[in-house]
Each structure stands twice: as C-alpha cells, then as structure tokens.
Assembly symmetry: C2
Homo-oligomer: 174 residues x 2
DNA sequence: CTTTTTGCAAAGTTTTTGCACTATA
DNA sequence: TATAGTGCAAAAACTTTGCAAAAAG
C-alpha cells in the first residue's frame, strides 16, 4: 500500500470514519522520508517537528502513531529499553527484522522469508489473521563479554561498534 | 542450565560477585513453578508473593528480574501493551515464540528451529553473540475484523477466544 | 567486618485522559 | 454544522533511585 500520497491517506482515513489533518499528514511525511533503518520514538518525532518549526502537541503525536499503527501504516518496535519506536510499515517484500545489541542498543536490519512463512503458518494454525511479525535477535558483542558483562562493566564503557548510532542523524529528514 | 537449585543459583550469583538472598530465591522459585505458557509482570509477581504471605518490596522485584534477565535466568517479554512480562529462560530445545492477538492480548506459544537458526546466522554475520531471540506474531481474529476493527469496535467487545486468559490463574503457583 | 542488598519513600519516565476549542467532511 | 481532532495541563502507569538499616560472604 505505501507509499501514501495525501490523497490515498485521506481515502484510507475517511473509509474508516477518520479525518485527514495537517498533523497526521506531517507525521506520515516524516516517516516516509526517514532514511532506511531509522525509527523514531514519540518524543524524537516531537522534537524533530518542533525543530522544523512545525510543532505538534506530544499527545497528538502519541494519539497519531497509535492510530496509524492500528491502521497498519506504521509499525511499532520495542527494541531498546524504555520507549517504543515507530517506522513505516513496509509490505512483505521489504518486511524486516532486527538484531539488537543489548549493551548499546545498536540495531541492524535483516530480511527473512522463512521467518515470515513461519509466522503466517502459526497464525493460520490458530485461525488468526497476521498483522505483523517481528523477530528480535538480542545479542552482545564479544568485547563486552570480555570486559566482564554482565557483572563488572565500567559504567561508561561502550562497544567499539557503538558508533554515534544513538541519535538518528537529524540532518535533512524531509 | 535450568532448573536451578538453591545451590546452583548461589554458585551462579557468587561467581559474578553477587549474593544469594531469600528474595532472589523466592522469585526464582515462583518462575520455576509457573505453569507453561504463563509469564508475570513485576506487579503480578509482587501481588503473587504478597498473597502468599511472603511480601517483597516492589523495587526489589524490579531489581531482581532485571538482574536475573541479564544473567540469562529469566527472559523479558514485550507482548502486551504497557508492561513487560518475565518467564524462565529455557534452553534451546524449549525455546519458544509467541502468537499474540493485538485485540485481547491472548498469547500462544510455538517452537521453531528455523527461527532460531535464522537468528544465530544473523548474529554471527555481525560478529555478535546470541543471547536470545523472540519472534512476536501479531494477529487479530477474523471476528474482530468482521466487527469493524480497527475503527468501530464496541469498547466492551472481546474475542470469543478471549477466555479468562488475562489474569494468570493464581491458584497454587508454588 | 566489608560490601551487597533490602525496603521505603520520593522522584523519574513515558503515556494517557478530560475538556474547551478548532477544523474536517 | 455535526462530529472528530487538537492542545494543554493534569493524572496515570510504570520504573528507577537515594539512603539508612539489614544481611551475605
């Protein structure tokens, strides 16, 4: 279904008794222009729009991402500790899963047909309709293990792989 | 590694400079006697122990489940909305994944070698050590769809499958 | 006896809600 | 112009933290 245009988003919303608003359009726009592999938390989305000079209230953000997730437009990810992240919900061929380092939260995407197939099979087996499937592969880097994880690890220690991947490079996201 | 005895738990803790306490032992005991397919949130664990007349402070619960998760004794699940659930971390042959109904949060376990294999492969590819992998299959029952999900669904509506699965049957969990 | 762990209460995060106002269909 | 959506501020839900007392090794 994606990419959505203003028109198709409106149609999608209206068909369910919901309305197209500038806020919803802007939020979708952000996600559609987010570089591959990036995902935003509600707060990050809030700040991004704020910095862009198009502020939207935080509660509207929360309400919108939840709505758009239910509609199947966004995908809710629970990768890092604490807060949820959202990304565009891609159709099957682009559907992806995540490898996460539980030390630094760095994430890497990967594709897998077999995982999707397995998920479909299990949903079917229960007579349920598949909405989404997410495989989270939790890992730790050998360096962290060598450093004594999980007991003694200097509090300021970071994986060598933990490049500045924390903050999505906010430069020019549409 | 599981099942843990008091002795092996103590050894495991001590080897990392941690200590065996009655609280940690009780918590492990609860999980070891939890019927298959059940998992508890911090709060549920708190109430369970309270009702049993062996109260443990909520902050200790939080600290303990986090520690035991890092140690690989427990497994942290993010299935339902809002709060995390914990269960015993089973070794490979018993490792399982979950089908979840996003309407009623009912969960069903399933096993899959291929998913584990896929996870190992991806972790390896990145030079990372696999700690855990969790496949969450989000589904919705056809009845809910027929009732108009996701837009118009009576607020009190529940899947016919949504038996009293919400509260783990607290009857006599060791 | 040194160091970790606990329980408590207070504070921190993240998310939701009520309500008057505004905008959409 | 009826109904859905917004923004605000207040509340709720969940989790973490500081600290003094207690317990483990």
């Amino acid at each position: 279904m994606p990419p959505y245009t203003t028109t198709s988003l409106k149609a999608e919303l209206n068909s369910r008794g919901w309305r197209l608003t500038p806020q919803r359009e802007k939020i979708l726009h952000v996600f559609q222009n987010l570089p591959r592999g990036n995902h935003l938390s509600a707060e990050e989305l809030f700040h991004l729009l704020e910095q862009r000079g198009e502020p939207i209230s935080l509660s509207t953000i929360y309400r919108s991402v939840k709505l758009m997730t239910r509609m199947g437009i966004l995908r809710e990810l629970e990768l890092a500790e604490g807060h949820k992240h959202y990304e565009l919900h891609q159709p099957h061929p682009h559907h992806h899963h995540h490898v996460v380092c539980i030390q630094c939260n760095r994430t890497i995407e990967f594709n897998s047909d077999s995982v999707l197939k397995q998920s479909l099979r299990q949903a079917e087996r229960e007579g349920l309709q598949l909405i989404d499937c997410q495989l989270n592969v939790m890992t730790i880097c050998p360096e962290a293990l060598r450093m004594g994880w999980p007991s003694s690890l200097p509090s300021d220690w970071a994986c060598s792989r933990a490049i500045s991947e924390e903050e999505p490079s906010n430069s020019q996201l549409s």
